[in-house]
Structures are given as C-alpha cells and as structure tokens.
C-alpha cells in the first residue's frame, strides 16, 4: 500500500485515494474535428510505461482534490507531487527503467 503525500492533507495511505490513470492527457478542445482513430487514442489508449510515469490521483476519502504524481512504476517510489495543470517535473526517464 503506497504512502501518498496529499498536497492538502499530508501523507496518507493509498486506500484513501483513487488513481485516475495517466496524467497530461487533455480533453480535445474540438472533439468533432478529430478522426475516429484520434478520438480512440484519447479515450482508450494509454502508454503503461515501465519506469517513470505521471499519474492523476484523487484524495477520494479525504479532501477530494485531484493532483498529479510522478512515480517510478518499478520501485513505486513517488518522485514528485504537483498540481493539476502544471507541467510534469523535469525528471530524466532514463534513470527510471
């Protein structure tokens, strides 16, 4: 069970959180202009990387706020927590493979 540092509530057990999957996938501004393939890419397809991943997390049983986390999917180490809408932190993905 991960220990996740909610930016509002501090370190709490993973069971209080809900993972929202890959971060930095923005909803297209004009969905109608997308091809079926492009839309499917947005709705269904995720990278599932071994190594450095950026994820959305929600403190569902706490403050109910969404935030982003950078995590090593091999060691599970959480490398950074940062707000929604911020760019991902500058981490070298080659270090986390």
């Amino acid at each position: 069970m991960l220990l996740i540092a909610c930016p509002h509530c501090g370190p709490r057990a993973e069971s209080e959180f809900h993972c929202g999957g890959e971060a930095h996938i923005e909803r297209p501004k004009d969905p109608a202009s997308l091809s079926d393939a492009e839309w499917a890419e947005f709705v269904f397809l995720r990278d599932n990387i071994k190594g450095l991943v950026f994820e959305r997390w929600n403190h569902a049983h706490g403050c109910r706020r969404w935030f982003n986390a950078a995590r090593d999917s091999v060691t599970y180490e959480i490398l950074a927590i940062y707000p929604m809408g911020s760019p991902p932190p500058a981490l070298d993905p080659r270090r986390y493979v």
């Binding site: 909803r27 959305r56 929600n58 599970y76 929604m84």
Partner: protein, 1002 residues
C-alpha cells in the same frame, strides 16, 4: 518426567510444570515451554503423518515454521484449526491434536497403496490425468483431498474475536535473534521508535538452540535477558512476541499477526484471539535468520531424519533426546554442532558422515578431538525403516560426487541429522521486490539491492553466520536506520562474540544412492508435496526450463510451507541437470504470506452488522412498523413492499401498483442521490456533462438528463432543477450517487478548472417523499400553502413552499406516469412530514408503495433504470432516447456517439417484449434466441432486462436488449430457460405499455 526421551534438566522448558495433551486420542504429558512437536518427540513419537501423494509415513523434520510434515488438526469444533505446524503450536494443558495426513488412520493407511501405484503419479500428474473431462476432475479431486487429508475446516462459525490495529514506527526489526536484538537496541538507544517483531514466544532466535555461546563474556542466555530488559525499559521501543511478520507491501507497509491467546488454556474474555497489525515504518531491518536445508538423499523422508539444527534445538532448548543412536550427515561444519550437543546429552553418535573429503572447521575439530567417528568423503546411500529409521547404509562418494564407490556399510541408528547448508530467510526482502545475489562460498541466495528505500538485512538473513558478525551487523543496521530517521547514534559499542562460520562446505545438491535415481528409493526435495528429484528431472526431460514452470509442473514449493526447506535444493538439482550455474536458473517469486494466516484476522470486527455500513432513511422506523420488507440498494435499506394480512409479494405489489394508478401512493425516495450545484457557470457545466441542452432552463423548471462517459455509454440519468439564478439541484440514481459526484468533480477540477461551479452532496440532508396518483394534488393542497394549480406548477416545475408546516421543496416530476410530487424536506423533519401525509392521506386511500411497485409502475411506462436497462455498453440511441441528445453542442461522450461502430444496425437495442401467453412472466436475465436448438450453444440475441406482471395492463410486460431490436418489431423470439421451459414472446411496437399518450401526467 514428561516423556521417556526427556532430559532431566536444562533447556527453556519448565521441568516442574507438567501439561497433559492428546494426540490421535491418546494422552501424553509435556512441559510448559514445549511445542506440540517437542512434546511428541519427548514421548518418543516421530511419525506424525503421511505424505500427500504416496502416503509414506512422515516424521517431524524441523523445529520451526519451515516444517513440511508435521501438519496437525488442533482443537475441537468450533475451534478446530487445520494445517497447523506441530513445530509452532505452543503446548497448552488439554490440547487435542490429530494427524491430518492419514485416512482412515495413521497406523493403517489405505492410501499407502498409492506408494505401490507411484509410477502412476509422476510429475505433472494433475495436468496429465485431470485435464479432461472437467467432471472427472471433480470426482478425483474429492477422493484425493480426502486421501491426502488436507485438514478439515471447522463446520461451525468461528467463536473467537479478532482485532486489527494500525501502527507507525521509525524502525521495524523483523526477528528477535542476536542480530535483531542488537538492531533494536542500537536503534532504540538512539531514541528511534522501534517495533521488534518475533514469531516465537522467546527472544533469542538461534541462540536458544545452541549451547556454550558467550556474548560480552556472559552466557548468551544472560545476554538475551539483559537485552530484553533494556528494550522493555526504552520508552519508544515495543517488543511484539508471538508475532509473525507475514507480508511486506509497498512503501514499507507490513502485515503482522500477533497470536494473543492461543497459548492460554483459558483465554480471558476481553482479549482477541489474534491481532492483525497494519504497520507503516520508515525503516526496516530484516533479521529473520536462516533456515537449514536438508541433504537430498535416498529415502530421506523416513521418520527420524531431521535437520541437524532441529536436533540441536530439541536437545538444547526442549531438553529431550530425539533418538538414542544417531548418524549425522553433513556437507559443512554446522552438522558437527548437532553431533557435539547430542554427545553431551547422552545420545550415542554412531558416525558423522561428511561429504567433504577433508572435514574441517572449528566444530569439526572439536568433534575430532572428542574422538567421534568421522567418515570423510562419504554419503548416506540408503535409509531403512518404514515408520522410523532403523539403519542407514553409507558409502564413499566418487570425486565428482555423482556416484558412490565401494561396498556400503550398514550403521544401525534411530536418528539421522542432516545438514546441507543454510538458506537466509529473504522472503520479506523479496516480497518488497528486493533483488537476490548468489553467494558461491556459502551456497545461498543473499539480499542484494533493495527495491524500496529504508530496507536493510542483518545477521544470518544477510549471510552473516558467525555470532560476532551478526551482533556487529545488527548494531550497525539499527544505528543506520535510526540515523536515517534523524536520530544521532548512541555511543554504545556492539556486543562481542566469537565468530564461527559453518564453512567450508562441499555443495552437493543430489546425493547419489545405491540405485539409479527413481529406482527402489525416492530422493525427496519437497516433502509436503511429495516431489522427488526424479520428478524434477522428468520435468526437464519434458522440456520445462524456467524454474517457475518446473515449480508449477512438479508442484515443488507450492504447499503450505512454500518450499522453505526444499526450494534451493530444487534449483540446485535443476542447475546441475541443465549444466548451468544456480543463479542462472533463478529463484521463484516470493509472495505473501510468509506463513499461512487465519482468515479471522482479515475479517477482524468487520463481521455481522459491522460488515458494511447500513444507511437508513429518516422514515425507516415507520416502514418497519408498517410491516415493510426491505431490499439493499447499495448500502441503503429501501422499503421493498408492505404486505398486509398475509399477502404474498405478488399480491402486495399488485395492490400497491393499482392504488397508485387508482388513487394515491407514497414512496420514500430519500435514497436518490442529490447534488447541490452552485456558481455562475453552473448552467454551462450542466450543458457539458448532460447530453441535452441546459442553457435555457428557466428558474423553477426541471429537466431530465442523460449523463455519458467519454466512451459514449450511458452512465446515469436523473432530473435536475434550477432552484435559483446560479443554483441547481441534481438527482442521481441511488446506487450511482458517489460515482456521479466523482465524475463531475473530475471534470471540474482537471478539465475545466476555469468554470466557477461548486458541488455539494446533499443526499442525506433531505428526506424525499413522492406522492403519486390522481389524488396527489388534493392531498398536497390539504397540507401545503403552495399554489398547485397546473398553471402555477405544471409538469416538470418546482416551487418552494411549506408542507405540514415545514419548509419544503416541491418538484412536480414523475417516475410512474401519474401526477406526482416529489417533496424534499430537511431530513430531521422527514418522519413528521411523512406521518402527516400518510394520516391526512387516509381519506384518499393513500397507500405506501415500495421499490418493487415503483419498478412495475415505471416499466409500464417504459422508463429505464440505469444499471438494469444499461450495463456500461449501451448508448442513448440503443435505448431509443435520441430525443434526449443534443445535435448542436459538445458534451462528454458526444464524439464517441459518431464512431462508426455506434451506427452498426445489429447493436443491442432496447425493445418492449410481450409474452405470447400473457400470464407468463419472463425471468429477468433470460437469454433470447431466434431459433431454439436441441441444446446449447445457440446464437443469442440479447437478454431480458426488466420483466413484471402488470396489474394495470392485465398481463406481463418486459423490456429487453436485443441485437437489431428496433428492426425486429413483431418478430417472435424465444427464451429457453434453465428448467427446460421455453417462453415465446413478441417484440412490441413500443416499450410504453400504459398511457402511451401521457394523458395522466397533465
């Protein structure tokens, strides 16, 4: 004396505290401090069970949690527990134990015939024999389980209580042997918050099993006592005895089980039987010691063959003689410890058979000095004696160790102590995804790099086998762990002791016998699962290479002991056979739990009424008093129907359904999800999350909305009302309330943070009651100051008013097709208003109706229920609800609706179904086919989603999702049922079975 093999004094047992216990119905005596295994051995009993496949007699092999053979059923129903290791069961007065691996009895065992039939039970026999047909497997499995005696689960419910507790610490020390005590002391002295977990009821670990160890100039026993006293005095240190750390999870989260009362003959009422510790630590030091592995030689499973360290434990800790005349078989120095201790205890040591050509090492030298007979370069090549070792034959090994030379010599003995080296207990380290490295010198896997931060290993668990090294490494690890948590190290030096390693060794994984492998004798690798060296070689011949595949095919290491003794031997034999090096063969994955954990601790107090929270509406007591039966909807208890005068469900529901259409019904709808939505951008927000248009909804007006996920599938529906300029109230289905709120919050916070909208769940703040039926307006007018005229409050409109003197929100919306008012009042007034309405409503024949009648009423109107007519793969178009979907704006899920697949004509579409026989009611979930074939499979078109007898239509009605259903109107379909009946039905023109024009809503 407690048992004829008991020594008159010594050890860690209370010689003056006699306990009585029974084993297979016979009564014996043991001592306080005994385990069940030591008490049996003290009574001269080695044979305690029979093996899983071959039903060979089996004896106690070990003195710890690695025990493969001595599995017991302990206690009587309801406290009977199977699969307990006799080596870990603390003896209590009155304990009752039974062998479980013997049917019909330990002495006469019909399953031993399997031994004769063993050529039919080779590696992979499960796969080969029971692949097909599946029904045969069921038969075989029943027989095999009974014959194999895997223990019996108690038939009555568990009468004991279990607790869970959470804990946090700076440093967790796993294991209370010399390294663990040293680690806990140095971390504790530095001021860190330390938890030391020891599975035993005594601290000291391997020190309890040896004699003559000296630490800091004092006997080890005294040093342990001093360490325990000091730990007890340190305010931030907690020592948990009888506590097994069974699992290492992510981010230094650990699972521990503390056994609280099993060792007490009469447990006090106030204590739980066991306690689950959920522990988060900053640092962990694994000091779990090492497990001695046995040598793999011919018929090495005879009762009386034990590990050398187990023999030492029984002699030194439990003060007993496990035999009268012993042969030691070793390939390293540590077997000599057993030889020396046995000699000191008066056991005749007939010979030390040493695989090494030149036996050497500190203990070897002492044995030589004492004049023990040492056979260097020899091996045990045969063991005689079915129920107890009688004799071994020894012979000289060839130079490569693969064969034996010369004529074997027979040596009479009743005990064989074998040592094949040591396996550090790396299980938890590996569960935490730590990597192992192979140590050629000690022939064992050692912890290498930890995957998670804050993890260290110390002592034998880290390959430090000398006592001095263990103490030093433990001290350093404890100090480093404390320092990592910000505590300055104390200046106390590590305790000092002599360093005696068990090297050198000659690592032979498979000891040759008198006959070719697999002939006339068996070399057991995994005794609990009856896996032999021949089985491993067969698996390799059949093409398996990966150790994970060999494991599954042969089942080696897959029993309740998870191969704690046998796995490395198995890997060594595989490596030899494929001509590789051990680390190239690799290790199997270590998974929790380290030892079996009883289910009770996971349940804890979360049983019966505490299993799941129950949500009740403010009117719940009224429903109970009025005889309602309830159904669970999510965590809510909803009134299902209200039977009167011995009515069955059918009669009660019919009466309720008729009453609503004829006059007036009242429904408790409190459980519907309610989300308060406020802010200047609320309308824009609704417009984006609902499929229809929301920007022009006037104040005081209500609108039905469909909510999709981004994949275009229906997620929820409900009515949302504009209460004020910037204020809306959304309703959701009962079961979806939390999911919808989460969905809305997600979009608001992550996609559209620029929208100024505030969401608040108010489901429990309001009690909701629905008045439905032709008399609804009249009753409400009697008790309310609202203007209820159709002009002032038309269908799909809202007003605030007083109802029964209480401020209320009145919504004229309908889920029955009748004139209906949904009334929200503050929850604390719910019961009072409900009582006023039901009392004042008597003159209109008001009838409370439950969820079942509600379902029938809405089905008569063809109204869907999300989760019943939908299953996450249904679009608005599939439901025939295009009228609720805007064509001019974007909304969540819209783009998906124009995917090519969505226009497929053979998608499943919602249709009405009418049975040919109006009296017949289709079962919900029934599969529909075009043509009935003599037997399944037959092509299925879809299934019935809702089906009821409708008293208002005077017949049965149903809805179904059917492939291409909209084009099938008038077609006859069939529902073949499990009971052999087939119901014929016709696809109706519409789902609306009652009042299709909607006259009654006006």
């Amino acid at each position: 004396m407690a048992g004829r093999m008991r020594l008159p004094q010594g050890g860690f047992v209370a010689h003056d505290e006699l306990l009585t216990f029974t084993f297979n119905g016979k009564t014996y005596k043991g001592l306080a401090g005994d385990t069940l295994a030591s008490a049996l051995l003290a009574n001269g009993i080695h044979m305690v069970g029979r093996s899983f496949k071959y039903h060979r007699p089996r004896g106690i092999v070990s003195a710890g949690g690695e025990e493969p053979n001595a599995l017991m059923q302990v206690g009587d129903d309801p406290r009977s527990e199977p699969n307990l290791k006799a080596t870990q069961v603390e003896l209590v007065d009155g304990l009752k134990a039974k062998s479980q691996n013997a049917w019909p009895s330990l002495e006469f065992d019909v399953g031993a015939l399997n031994g004769l039939a063993s050529r039919f039970l080779p590696a992979g026999f499960y796969y080969k024999t029971f692949m097909w047909p599946a029904s045969a497997w069921m038969t075989y499995e029943h027989f095999i389980r009974r014959a194999a005696g895997l223990g019996v689960s108690p038939r009555q419910r568990d009468p004991d209580r279990y607790d869970k507790t959470f804990a946090h610490c700076d440093v967790l020390v796993v294991g209370g042997g010399p390294a663990g005590l040293a680690a806990a002391l140095s971390a504790g002295r530095a001021g860190a918050r330390v938890i030391l977990a020891e599975q035993d009821h005594l601290l000291g670990g391997a020190l309890l099993n040896t004699q003559g160890e000296v630490i800091d100039g004092q006997p080890a026993r005294d040093w342990i006592a001093a360490a325990e006293a000091e730990l007890a005095a340190l305010p931030e240190v907690r020592v948990l005895k009888r506590t097994i750390c069974y699992a290492a999870f992510d981010h230094n989260f650990f699972g521990l089980v503390e056994s609280v009362t099993d060792h007490l003959p009469r447990p006090p009422e106030n204590l739980p039987r066991k306690r689950l510790w959920k522990l988060r630590t900053k640092q962990v030091v694994y000091c779990a010691g090492a497990i001695e592995r046995p040598l793999v030689f011919a018929d090495n499973d005879r009762p009386g063959v034990m590990t050398a360290s187990a023999v030492q434990s029984y002699v030194n800790r439990y003060a007993l003689r496990p035999g009268r005349r012993a042969v030691v078989f070793t390939n390293n120095d540590s077997g000599y410890g057993a030889a020396l201790d046995m000699k000191a205890a008066g056991i005749e040591v007939a010979a030390v058979v040493d695989a090494r050509q030149v036996p050497a090492g500190p203990l070897t030298e002492r044995a030589t000095a004492l004049g023990l007979r040492i056979l260097g370069g020899f091996a045990i090549v045969a063991v005689e004696g079915a129920r107890r070792v009688k004799r071994v034959r020894v012979a000289e090994l060839s130079l490569d160790g693969k064969t034996v030379t010369g004529v074997p010599e027979a040596i009479d003995c009743d005990l064989v102590a074998s040592s094949g080296g040591w396996n550090p207990t790396v299980h938890l380290f590996c569960q935490a995804k730590g990597k192992l490295r192979w140590d050629d010198e000690h022939a064992c896997f050692l912890p290498d790099a930890a995957m998670q931060t804050g993890q260290q290993s110390a002592g034998a668990a880290n390959g430090r086998f000398g006592l001095g090294s263990c103490l030093r490494e433990g001290t350093e690890a404890g100090a480093a762990a404390a320092a990592a948590c910000g505590f300055a190290p104390s200046d106390t030096a590590a305790s000092q002791a002599e360093d005696r390693d068990f090297l050198p060794g000659r690592w032979i994984w498979l000891v040759p016998g008198e006959h070719p492998l697999g002939h006339k004798a068996k070399h057991f690798v995994d005794q609990q699962n009856d896996v032999t060296a021949a089985d491993l070689k067969l698996a390799l011949r059949e093409g398996y290479r990966s150790i994970e595949h060999v494991k599954r095919y042969t089942t080696t290491g897959m029993a309740t002991d998870q191969g704690k003794m046998g796995n490395v031997n198995a890997i060594g034999i595989v490596a030899d056979e494929v001509g590789g090096h051990l680390p190239e063969v690799g290790v199997t994955t270590f998974r929790p739990p380290y030892t079996p954990v009883t289910f009770g601790v996971f349940a804890g107090r979360d049983v019966d009424n505490l299993l799941d929270p129950v949500r009740r509406t403010p009117m719940h007591a009224w429903h109970e008093r009025n005889g309602a039966l309830f159904e669970d909807v999510g965590q809510w208890r909803r009134a299902w129907y209200y039977p009167q005068h011995g009515e069955d469900m059918h009669a009660a529901v019919n009466r309720e359904v008729k009453a609503v259409r004829d006059s007036l019904g009242i429904l408790d709808a409190t459980t519907l999800g309610k989300i308060d939505i406020q802010g200047p951008d609320a309308a824009e927000f609704l417009n984006r999350v609902y499929t229809n248009a929301w920007l022009k909804l006037g104040i005081g007006r209500c609108r039905y909305g469909l909510m999709l996920k981004e994949d275009g599938m229906v997620m929820d529906d409900g009515v949302t009302t504009r209460l004020g300029e910037k204020h809306y109230l959304m309703t959701t289905t009962t079961g979806n309330a939390a999911a919808v709120l989460g969905h809305l919050e997600d979009y608001l916070q992550t996609e559209w943070p620029d929208l100024q909208v505030y969401l608040t769940s108010v489901t429990e703040q309001f009690a909701t009651m629905t008045l439905s039926g032709p008399s609804a307006r009249r009753l409400l007018a009697d008790v309310s100051d609202a203007d209820l005229s159709p002009e002032a409050l038309p269908h799909m409109a809202y007003t605030a008013a007083k109802v029964a003197g209480v401020p209320a929100r009145i919504f004229r919306i309908s889920f029955t097709g009748e004139l209906s008012y949904e009334i929200n009042v503050p929850a604390s007034f719910g019961m009072a208003v409900w009582q006023t309405l039901t009392t004042a409503g008597e003159r209109y024949g008001i009838t409370p109706y439950g969820t079942e009648a509600m379902h029938v009423l809405r089905a008569e109107k063809g109204y869907i229920i999300v989760g019943q007519e939908t299953d996450g793969s249904v679009t608005p178009h599939d439901l025939g609800m295009d009228w609720a979907v805007s064509k001019t704006k974007d909304f969540v899920g819209r783009r998906s609706l124009s995917r090519e697949d969505m226009a497929r004509p053979d998608r499943k579409q919602l249709v009405g179904l009418l049975t040919k026989d109006p009296k017949e009611v289709l079962p919900e979930g029934a599969q529909l086919v075009e043509k009935v074939l003599p037997q399944p499979p037959m092509p299925m078109l879809g299934h019935v989603t809702s089906s009821y007898h409708s008293p208002n239509c005077g017949r049965s009605i149903a809805m179904a999702l059917v492939k291409g259903g909209l084009a099938r109107k008038g077609e006859t379909l069939f529902a073949p049922l499990g009971d052999g009946r087939t119901i014929a039905c016709v696809v109706a023109d519409t789902c609306v079975f009652f009042d299709p024009e909607g006259e009654r809503l006006k």
